[in-house]
């Protein structure tokens, strides 16, 4: 009994770390750039496939892929914000109109990225084995690669939070999230900061993809499934709250792990149930304003 409870908690934390990382990225894109990026999951997929391809083709250590995947998805995200979303933002008559049009545009991005991935890598499930041995912690057994994923997710999450609180650019991001116009008259180059946020959001998804590929099978259309979970985490933690997303990721991970241990097929249903419950009881989320 105690061992199975420990199992649930450990697995929940391992899963939650990945959810937290992806959700922080989406929250950064929505909270600052106001783009509800439906294609966010595609950046997870890109990160996962680049890592897999590097490992299987060139034998590059998946953890080393971090320094390859990070810059690639950052540049893609940065350019998408500078071109597509900046022009939508300047032509939109109002903020809600922009949120609507940018969400639809991100749907388009989802299909474009997904189909390019299908052309390059085909539709098969892929997996590789890396640090795939069991670790025994007080009776609970889990794969070593998942512990690596958790550690990195937590380190990245905390490092990013310190970046937001301590640095000049981080403060500009927070100011722009609250009031972009006023941030602009303080001297913040808003278009640059929004592109930076979008790029960093994509990096978080991409890196989550790197870790995910070590632990689970990957396939080109995997993005949407993770996107839905991410949306639930973001709403759970509070739209616009980066710490909220971090905590929310772990909460959802624990819930998912508990439900899965009882009835694996019900995990996603449980997520939706929590999502609906949340929208009714506390729509602004745990740490939302």
């Amino acid at each position: 009994m105690l061992v199975s409870a420990l199992n649930i908690v450990i697995n929940g934390l391992l899963l939650g770390g990945l959810y937290a990382l992806v959700a922080m990225g989406l929250n950064l894109q929505y909270g600052v750039a106001r783009v509800l990026n439906i294609a966010h999951g595609e950046f997870i997929m890109l990160g996962a496939f680049i890592t897999w391809a590097m490992y299987t083709k060139f034998g590059i250590n998946p953890l080393l892929s971090i320094v390859i995947v990070g810059p690639i998805v950052f540049i893609i995200g940065f350019i998408i914000q500078r071109t597509l979303f900046t022009s939508l933002r300047t032509s939109a008559p109002s903020q809600p109109a922009f949120e609507g049009s940018s969400m639809l545009a991100s749907f388009g991005l989802l299909f474009i990225i997904q189909n390019v991935a299908l052309i390059i890598w085909g539709g098969d499930m892929r997996a590789y084995s890396y640090y795939n041995f069991g670790i025994n912690l007080g009776g609970a057994v889990f794969a070593a690669n998942r512990l690596i994923a958790l550690i990195f997710a937590v380190v990245i999450g905390i490092a990013f939070y310190i970046f937001l609180v301590r640095t000049r650019i981080g403060k500009a991001i927070r100011a722009a999230a609250e009031d972009p116009t006023t941030a602009g008259i303080m001297g913040v180059n808003i278009n640059l900061v929004l592109a930076l946020c979008f790029g960093l959001g994509a990096v978080m998804a991409g890196l989550a993809g790197v870790f995910l590929s070590m632990c689970f099978p990957i396939y080109p259309v995997m993005g949407l499934e993770y996107l839905i979970i991410t949306l639930i985490v973001v709403v759970l933690g509070g739209l616009g709250s980066i710490p909220g997303s971090f905590i929310g990721g772990f909460i959802l991970g624990l819930i998912g792990s508990a439900v899965s241990s009882w009835q694996p097929s019900l995990a996603l249903a449980a997520y939706y149930f929590i999502f609906m419950l949340l929208l009714i009881i506390r729509p602004k989320g745990i740490l939302g304003k």
Binding site: R168, K171, E178, D179, G184, I185, M186, G187, V188
Partner: protein, 234 residues
């Protein structure tokens, strides 16, 4: 220092400013007065780059600035304290001040500038670590003024800094504005508080329906029949 020539600005299709010409010389306090909707805020927003004029020009220290983005204009030495202050409520008082020093040159001297701002507004030092949303309306307004000074501006645009403040705080704000002039900062001040404004400012410009109605030295305006009737209720 600031030269505005034949400026027309539109909000969408509606013209908000008509053929505005105005100049502000170094070391002056120039007031913009006029009723609500006269175009005072629109004029400040056009100067600081939030709006772009349809025609006419704005020059600052001999350089054309209409067409520049707000962040480029701050770099040149113009700071803007917007209507209602608009402090960043989810950031601390100190972080708000730091944001005011965001430009590259101001950032290097921010700690020194913050000390100077704390001397002007000691209450901000007491509240340094508090979130701006926990400040009273008056304190938020002072924070907004202090934040506007953080970029070490040559020209300050103040949009109704005394709005919603108690008479004691209003007097405080005017005292600060006078002391800024003594430090060599040029000021363009939008105010509803016409009498006190005309007493502090050197020159004033009365806007009506987006046009310059009267312009001149404040002592002359204080005695002009038009201003006395329309704005001082005499």
């Amino acid at each position: 220092m600031l030269d505005i020539n034949h400026l027309d600005t539109f909000y969408g299709k509606a013209q908000a400013l008509w053929n505005i010409s105005l100049s502000v010389d170094k070391g002056e306090i120039v007031a913009l007065v006029g009723s609500n909707g006269a175009g005072k805020t629109t004029l400040l927003n056009t100067i600081c780059g939030l709006l772009h004029p349809a025609s006419g020009s704005i020059s600052f220290l001999g350089e054309r600035i209409d067409g520049l983005t707000p962040h480029a204009i701050v770099e040149l030495g113009i700071s803007h304290v917007p209507e209602g202050g608009r402090v960043f409520t989810s950031m601390t008082v100190r972080e708000n001040l730091e944001m005011g020093a965001y430009t590259y040159h101001a950032w290097k001297r921010k700690d020194e500038t913050i000390k100077q701002v704390y001397q002007v507004f000691p209450v901000l030092k007491e509240r340094e670590r508090q979130l701006a949303r926990t400040l009273s309306g008056g304190e938020q307004q002072m924070l907004a003024v202090g934040r506007g000074l953080m970029s070490r501006p040559k020209l300050c645009l103040f949009d109704e800094p005394s709005y919603g403040l108690s008479p004691i705080l209003v007097a405080e704000v005017f005292r600060v504005i006078k002391s800024l002039r003594e430090q060599g900062i040029t000021i363009l001040l939008v105010e509803q508080n016409v009498r006190q404004t005309l007493e502090v400012a050197d020159r004033a410009c009365v806007l009506e329906n987006g046009r310059v109605e009267v312009e001149g030295a404040c002592d002359r305006l204080l005695t002009s029949d038009y201003v006395r009737k329309a704005y001082l209720g005499l």
